[in-house]
Amino acid sequence: MSEIFLKSSNLSLGYSNQIVIKGLDIQLSFINDYQIIGKNGAGKTTLMNFIALNFDGSYFESKVNRSQISINQISSTSTLIQELTLSENIDYYTSETSLASEEKLNIVFKYLPEDYLNEKIKSFSSGMLRRAELSIIEIKSPLVFCIDEPLNFLDSEGVLLLANLIKDRSIANKCNILSSQEFVDFEGLEFEVINLNEY
């Protein structure tokens, strides 16, 4: 399998009459980690959504070569089902993984206290939601992991957990794509920068 999982030239993306990204050449590989940086409105989230197949805009123009691989995204709003408990959400989102229930729970308890397991997601704080989503990413271990504004909602312990997750994934040759306004420095990790301020 080729290391390149997404290649697109002269990419333009937008919403109705507003073009957010214009003429971007992009080539993403499994073995690298990326950071998309740019000021407000530069199109970080739009590009991230496009990479993670969640783009919901109305303007798109480019030739895209994309491999059929597992890509999971954590965006600024939670994807978890609000009416269900954490345990039910984990069952729903991680059903395809080969890990046993106990192994899954061990991973979850690294991120959240045990009391949260049977709590409904709608009672979670933003930070706990982020942690819950990070635990699901660790269980699923997708080939590509995209996270929008990675430091948002996380306390120092949460940031450390995120850094460890990214490091472990990087060692396992799995791609991490982060998007934020400024470069986020994770000690010991190298990122290729996609600077949207230049477009």
């Binding site: 969640n54 994807t79 089902i81």
Partner: protein, 214 residues
């Protein structure tokens, strides 16, 4: 058939926890109890057919309320399916089945209550009555989901305006059946209903698969 048991389980769990459809049947039946005695008191004679027409009307009202109780927000759905690595076709089939399983007992209850409160009955055998209700429920659930995943509206009013004519069309097949048809004509009506169900299911599956391949 591309039915995913996790999606099915999730949809039923969410419904059980929300109990949103319970909040629908109560006001519908309350209206029935309040309105019908008033209507009947002001008439010297009430034609039996009037009850059957009202029966259909209540079925359409209830189905519409059921359809708009929780709109699907398309971009959230896409994110959810991608996060769980589920296919859209699995979602459509599983959600349709889940909605059918939730909806069917409720419209049976609605029909029983209607007959009890109005002391009226339909002019068709119980078997044909049940088959017509099952067909109506399957099609109503599928059409609702098709509308929501192929159009990006998430406004309840627009959804209401679009879905009512569709449900009216579905009830046109039930109307003559309930009013009393001969055995052969009734069989033809049910076969037409079966044909429509297959066409809707097959066309939707084709378009979703095509969209996924592209």
């Amino acid at each position: 058939m591309n039915i995913n048991k996790n999606i099915l389980k999730k949809e039923i769990l969410v419904e059980l926890k929300n109990s949103s459809s319970l909040f629908l049947i109560t006001p519908t039946m309350s209206v029935l109890i309040i309105i019908f005695p008033i209507l009947i008191e002001n008439r010297f004679a009430v034609d039996e057919d009037l009850f059957i027409i009202s029966h259909l009307l209540f079925l359409i009202i209830f189905s519409t309320l059921f359809a708009i109780r929780k709109p699907i927000i398309l971009n959230q759905l896409t994110k959810e399916l991608n996060f769980g690595n589920y296919k859209k076709i699995e979602f459509f089939n599983s959600k349709s089945l889940a909605e059918f399983l939730i909806f069917l007992p409720q419209i049976f209850i609605l029909n029983i209550l209607f007959s009890a409160f109005t002391n009226s009955s339909v002019n068709v055998s119980i078997l044909y009555f049940m088959i017509s209700i099952v067909f109506f429920a399957i099609n109503a659930c599928m059409i609702n989901i098709i509308f929501q995943i192929f159009t990006s509206f998430n406004n309840r009013f627009v959804q209401f305006i679009l879905i009512v004519p569709m449900y009216l069309a579905l009830s046109f097949f039930i109307g003559p059946l309930w009013l009393g048809l001969g055995q052969e004509l009734a069989n033809i009506y049910l076969l037409m209903y079966l044909g429509i169900t297959i066409v809707i299911f097959a066309t939707t599956n084709y378009y979703i698969e095509k969209e996924t391949i592209q």
